[in-house]
Symmetry: C2
Subunit: 426 residues, 2 copies
């Protein structure tokens, strides 16, 4: 396929959280990698564009995963019996230590990237490990996959076992600079993102180093925030001068004021923390499955949306068990219903169109104009086939989308385009 082409099918996307925009048997025009427009019939001006006909299938924007840990994919969906801090110590840290071995990393990341490529995800922000070589292997594989991603070599120089801790803030900083320079040479669609693991893993000195690196290279940042009650207490002990968890990042200028920043979880953000996130334009990566699996709690996403925060969804593999962003939408709806029922009935449950918005345009904003079929958006699209779900009577496009949220399976994803390039059509 050249840079100009047309997809035909049942088109569905969200310009706003409130509703789906649906064009049945419509045409979606791609021009030079961007969405030119959505029409009922092919406009005269594009009559010579190549046409791919998806028939009765659904065409939606590619999904955006704002938070996941690629090295943890090996043990996804197992060891779901502990809370965050004990889970890190017992399962996540030992698993990540294995990526010191480049051969292991190539095999494990190979499996992960193949699955991510086959999913409905077109964009993702993810954690690697502290190992530069392994992280670059992950990035090579992602670059080849056709996805557009941001990947972080993790920084961690305290409060983890010897086998998974950088020797000092300077060693960590130097490795980070080496890695960033490599990335600039090697990758086009796989960008580095600064990744202090979380406050408990990073000394003040390391945070200061990262701020210098951020200002020099103008890099975005991702980390964790207010996920678990014990974690929050620990951060307060470690940073007694911080007014709240997010302030512990902000004291080093690493809370979104200068560069785009994602904070995963935000289950327990206080009003002060919410205000600061809003002022600084911090993106919340809502990871509902992980927050259940690690018994963290339920984030008040309705409140964040009402307050005007930027919110997207994350699979959080392997606190979450799967790379499937439809499942993340399902869990987001279900958790919001339980939160409404048992915690706070002033915050209405999330709807299908709202979680769809979060998984497309909401998180997509972190990548620029991504996650919608409005003109000028990057052309990220996936084609969905629900013919497996046999029906007695016709089902509306909106209902078919809702069914995908609950019933999606791997083989239902039939085609994927990222920034106008075909990743697969099968």
């Amino acid at each position: 396929m050249g840079p100009n082409f047309i997809l035909k099918g049942n088109i569905c996307y969200c310009e706003t959280p409130e509703r789906f925009t649906i064009v049945e048997h419509g045409v979606l025009v791609c021009k030079e990698g961007l969405v030119e427009g959505v029409y009922q019939e092919i406009p005269e001006a594009f009559a010579d564009f190549e046409v791919r006909d998806a028939g009765e299938k659904l065409i939606i924007p590619g999904l955006v995963d704002l938070h996941l840990h690629a090295p943890q994919y090996t043990f996804r969906a197992t060891h779901m019996d502990l809370e965050l801090l004990e889970w890190l110590e017992n399962y996540a840290f030992p698993a990540e230590a294995k990526y010191k071995d480049a051969e292991y990393a190539r095999k494990a990341y190979g499996i992960f990237v193949d699955r991510l490529r086959d999913s409905a995800t077109t964009r993702a922000c993810m954690f690697g490990t502290l190992h530069v070589e392994a992280t670059e292997i992950l990035m090579e594989l992602l670059e080849k996959s056709g996805l557009h991603t941001m990947v972080g070599k993790v920084n961690m120089d305290r409060n983890s076992p010897d086998y998974l801790r950088e020797e000092s803030a300077d060693v960590s900083g130097e490795a980070t600079v080496e890695w960033i320079k490599d990335c600039k040479k090697k990758f086009r669609n796989t960008k580095p993102i600064l990744t202090p693991r979380f406050i408990p893993s990073c000394t003040d000195e390391l945070m200061e180093n990262l701020k210098k690196i951020q200002l020099h290279f103008q890099l975005p940042l991702q980390s964790h925030l207010s996920e678990n009650l014990s974690e929050i207490d620990w951060v307060q002990e470690l940073c007694p001068t911080s007014a709240f968890y997010g302030d512990a990042y902000d004291q080093f200028g690493l809370f979104g004021a200068d560069c785009p920043t994602i904070m995963a979880h935000c289950v327990y953000s206080s009003d002060e923390e919410i205000r600061r996130m809003k002022e600084n334009g911090v993106f919340v990566a809502h990871c509902p499955e992980s927050n259940m699996n690690l018994a963290s709690g339920i984030a008040p996403i309705r409140k964040y949306m009402q307050e005007g925060l930027k919110v997207g969804l994350g699979s959080d593999v392997a606190g979450g068990t799967k790379e499937d962003m439809f499942a993340a939408m399902m869990h987001a709806i279900q958790c919001s219903k339980l939160r409404w029922r048992v915690i706070d009935d002033t915050l209405a449950p999330l709807t299908a169109s709202e979680v769809f918005y979060l998984a497309t345009k909401g998180g997509g904003e972190f990548f620029g104009k991504v996650g919608s079929f409005e003109p000028g958006y990057e052309f990220d699209a996936v084609v969905l086939d629900d013919s497996r779900l046999k029906d007695v009577e016709p089902v509306s496009v909106a209902d078919r989308i809702e069914r995908f949220i609950y019933l999606e399976q791997e083989e239902d994803i039939r085609a994927k385009y990222v920034a106008g390039k075909e990743v697969f059509w099968r």
Copy 2:
């Protein structure tokens, strides 16, 4: 396959909720439709039995679904925006009314039964509609499928629209007797179960009729209990003399004292209700996904298990979105973690082996000696293939079972046996 044969593979089952019993590369002997035993090598005495080798695959007891609504399968995973009573009125009742048309019923139930057959479920208790003809069509299809099931023609003579309400208690009772007599003639593995929809749908006169029918035919019963707060208030209004919701059934002798009884949901059962359930041997069908989707709440299953109640799992299609009982296990674990975190931290979250037990031996008890590989149990088994999930290093059998809970997909179910009969091997 004859009545005597052997399955080889990685065998896993739960005798008690606390732990998996695992025999790697073991043999499971079927003799005359019953489990003869599990061994490491084929015993001399069975050396002439035919052997089916599942290789590295997993062999587990068939799963038991204690609660689902077959006619609602058509709209599963859509219309998830209302609570129970409004959801019934707006979605479930109109969908069920269509089964007045036998041709529609044959198509819709055909799709449902095909899927149930392909799943890991070997036994299920389900609601049909109030229509005798459609319910018998469903039962015919189930009988052909090879599954063992209990199916209810629904009784409902009040508080529903004209188009889905029986004319009177006597009309409902007579139709029920006609249906039971037909079932005895027609079906061997598909048994009738009495099914008053729930207290709000049934007049006192109808409940009295059903009690007479139960005593005459000695039939088990299934219904709904303490699912939703508005429903519970309504039952109290309708039955002012009842001490609690379950007592409204018990006043008519329809709460397990005489015949085996399943009550679905029990999200809000009081201590009194719990005590009565225990005295009467009532089975709780825990339907966690439905309880999230309809914003009902989270049932205290740990408490029920501690109190010694009989508990199984239900998909509750279409309050639940799928027939997949692995998903029911996942939701049961996840909900129990949120309940522990936000409602009551004295009730520990459910573990993988506990929900596996509920979905096998726990619910299986309603069918007799079903749901385990202990000697003398009916030979219900499914073969699971997780080769789709590529691994860098070997994964333990227990971890592989845990992964199925979170990651199962339709094509992973490779073989199924019910009461010693092969349903499929593919």
